[in-house]
Symmetry: C2
Subunit: 335 residues, 2 copies
Amino acid sequence: MKRIGKQTLEFDNAPGITGHGAVAGRKEAAGPLGSDFDQTFDDTTLSTKSWEKAEAQLQKEAVSAALRSAGCKPQDIDMIFAGDLLNQCISSTFGLLPYQIPLLGQYGACSTMAQTLLMASIMVDCGAARLAAAVTSSHFCSAERQFRTPLEYGAQRTPTAQWTATASGCAIVGRQGKVRVMHGLAGKAMDLGVKDPANMGAAMAPAAADSIYQYLQDTGTRPTDYDGIFTGDLGSVGSKLLLDTLLDNGVNLAPVHNDCGLMLFDQESQDVHAGGSGCGCSASVLCGHLLRKMEKGELNNILFCATGALMSTTSQQQGQAIPGICHIVHLKSTL
Amino acid sequence: MKRIGKQTLEFDNAPGITGHGAVAGRKEAAGPLGSDFDQTFDDTTLSTKSWEKAEAQLQKEAVSAALRSAGCKPQDIDMIFAGDLLNQCISSTFGLLPYQIPLLGQYGACSTMAQTLLMASIMVDCGAARLAAAVTSSHFCSAERQFRTPLEYGAQRTPTAQWTATASGCAIVGRQGKVRVMHGLAGKAMDLGVKDPANMGAAMAPAAADSIYQYLQDTGTRPTDYDGIFTGDLGSVGSKLLLDTLLDNGVNLAPVHNDCGLMLFDQESQDVHAGGSGCGCSASVLCGHLLRKMEKGELNNILFCATGALMSTTSQQQGQAIPGICHIVHLKSTL
């Protein structure tokens, strides 16, 4: 592994995406990417007795789909990097328990897919793992009741609010795969004082701007060197802030930028306000949609820049602002 | 990096503990290891307005002590691996925010010190970081009100209950240091059906037994090849279960075993029931006490086996058992 510039890692052996899987709920299935998921669930309880158990089940199913796609068994995976939004990451613990794979729990809020994929890629590149998995999930109903209000209240949502995706994505990193991991960047937590938990996009945009700017500096590349730079999940409010901030710093991201939160749902018809969010949003967009497009040659060279809001209901109630974070993974197709 | 046996990693470049710091509260200062901490706080609010902010401050102070000990600045650290017990790991987020070091949030419950140290060591060994930090914390008062009952209730504690340490420990891994990281093992989550949240030791013992047994198998070593095998935090109940389980499998750990939860407090006089616990317990015992003893040549070859209970109040209320996990780091003195 080589460090280039201030924060970027360059992989020596270009680990490959050996397999991937994405599963989602009913609303996501009805969205523009519905046909890209390995499995969708009309009943979003997944026949379990609680939303939290349903979310754990989503992770289990995403890993199962990824294992099938990689053509391997749980015991072939040397390490699994997993995390989620629920207190103490219980979706990961209980969803992955049956697989008995050495588990390294990660917490990066909605940036978890980029963080876990970065960790898994480092492990494979340096030989710490032959195959390593990266997985995360979110569930609209478990997130609402933990972070906001019980669904039964029918609370109104503000225009800047985002809709937590009911979804999970898993990628298995190894020596094989049409898509290669070329570079990665671990981001810093950035706090610009945004305190509105119904405007996570604004809270996360500064971190996305910081990480993307640094990555471009470190690698000496320009946005148009990539087919696409995908953030997640800034939604419409955060995306605009990101583009404006980077433009103020001489970087025009607009020609190649899209946001996983804007891709997962139809903004016109699906009433998700500022867009999708949750760890499962960028995870399912990457592992369902983007990797598929790369394997077909429709995308060749992308940056996946998942963003997270590092807060809890307690930090919020105690008047703290909402720091954001953004980790980056550079993926390239070998086609 | 080399994989040996089923689960163990052998480091090629034996990363060193370049610096370390440990801070603790009043009760810990009064315990047998009180003089080993870099700083202790008589006022366990650390002059903040909440227990959660106090815990964040503990992490900040532990990192500060470790930076002083390593003789370096925050900007010299390429990555920091951090996590804690609070929902969404807010002690780490807010405690580390001022340092602006690329942050990779970890969740391993009370196994976090071993997990973060393992991650930091891998990064340095493979060149992903020149210096990487590992830190975690816990606070009795923030843990009690989040996981159990508000302190003001004065709830009675069972004999098997453990006392969450008010403490934090940080290790900085680099190319220098009298103590070297030789091997590491990432553990599996193990669930043997223990459901009593006032008996975490019993919930974590099977994971400790599994990881230690596997480590000894992988490396072809025996317990007496080490000066000490330190678990954390099984307490008295979990320690007995661990020793019994391993003995049933032909491994006698008793001559070299000690538990961080039994070392931090005086069992006779400090009324902690089954012992200490919390991420900060094994972190402060390692970064305050054990590393100091190794640097003085009083300990030369140890296994640090931190254990965690992967549960939340929600998983508990929904009738789930408490899976345990144990990660291992093998440390050797170069004296």
